[in-house]
Symmetry: C2
Subunit: 200 residues, 2 copies
């Protein structure tokens, strides 16, 4: 039999392809990520990736997973950069916004509304879970320090929904021109903190 692909070789190709896809995304936008361009980028024929991925959706799931991984890295670094709970939340929030705005093509892809069920892609579940876990950890800090009360997972999701909602409205061009996006984020965070602190 011929040189069978070692798992390491498979993994290496998958990563090279993933990196090429991210480069195309970042430099030429989503419409540049086609099987043919991807193949050209790797100096390989358009059908070769099908040895390593089921189909294009499978590739996109891998790219999303990789995006969530970098996203989680960024938030974890921010988390460790502060100690005061509110400062931690602010730092994580800043890292979140920074990622969403600076790598907005990745962010769009990661939260695309017409993606196939994430449950079919275990590495994507793992990576997005890691990002979510950071937000829960940050919420726990707020609770433990008495800045908020309630279920950490629910509180994390309240803050997350707010941040994400403002960002995607901004990215979709739906915010009123009279509202400054970053002022909106500040006002949202302040308001939520006040609401979360109340003890009635």
């Amino acid at each position: 039999m011929p040189r069978a692909l070692s798992p390491a070789q498979v993994e290496e190709f998958r990563e090279r392809l993933c990196a090429a896809a991210e480069r195309l995304f970042a430099e030429h936008g989503p419409e540049a990520v086609t099987m043919r361009q991807l193949a050209a980028e790797l100096g390989v024929s358009p059908m070769t990736p099908y040895r390593y991925f089921k189909d294009k959706d499978d590739i996109l799931a891998a790219v999303r997973a990789s995006g969530f991984s970098r996203f989680a890295d960024a938030m974890e670094a921010a988390f460790r950069s502060e100690t005061d709970p509110v400062a931690v939340s602010e730092a994580v929030g800043r890292a979140y916004v920074r990622f969403a705005l600076e790598q907005s093509d990745a962010y769009r892809l990661m939260f695309d509304l017409s993606q196939p069920n994430e449950a079919d892609y275990p590495e994507l579940v793992a990576a997005s879970g890691r990002a979510r876990e950071m937000m829960v950890a940050q919420a726990r800090g707020l609770i433990d320090s008495g800045q908020a009360r309630g279920d950490p997972e629910v509180i994390a999701h309240i803050l997350w929904a707010n941040l994400h909602g403002g960002l995607v409205l901004q990215l979709a061009g739906k915010l009123s021109p009279r509202v400054d996006p970053s002022a909106l984020r500040r006002a949202s965070f302040q308001t939520l903190l006040k609401g979360l602190a109340r003890d009635d």
Copy 2:
């Protein structure tokens, strides 16, 4: 010269096509909305729509505008159905959620992240502005009744970001399975109301 198209005939065709597109969206999902299927639905050749629309993006902009129009209608009806400001906000919120979940294909399209600049489509600007105006009106109610303080436009956007964020996370399948979407929305609204009411 031949029967020249009267503006009324043009408008009639545009509306018929728009309705057909909405039907395809709702019944067979976004991938069914192709020029060829659209044409078949109208009993016309695939190139005919190009007499009435610049290109497919132009058609999608019209469908979005129509979606925003129905969306604004639903919220306006909810707005008028109550008098107490908090009840008005809740009713408008319920109408919002109802629309997003029951006509989720339309909602997805309306807030798609990779749509062309909305400013190029005046009727879309008008329709989405009408929806936004409803949220500002509802925020004004909260302020006038002393339930909130601050700029109505900013407050409207805070509430909007929260609602939209939670919904798109839900639609994208990103919410933790341990968090119930509608419980999350209730908790978010409660928290925001508390935060907005504080006078410090």
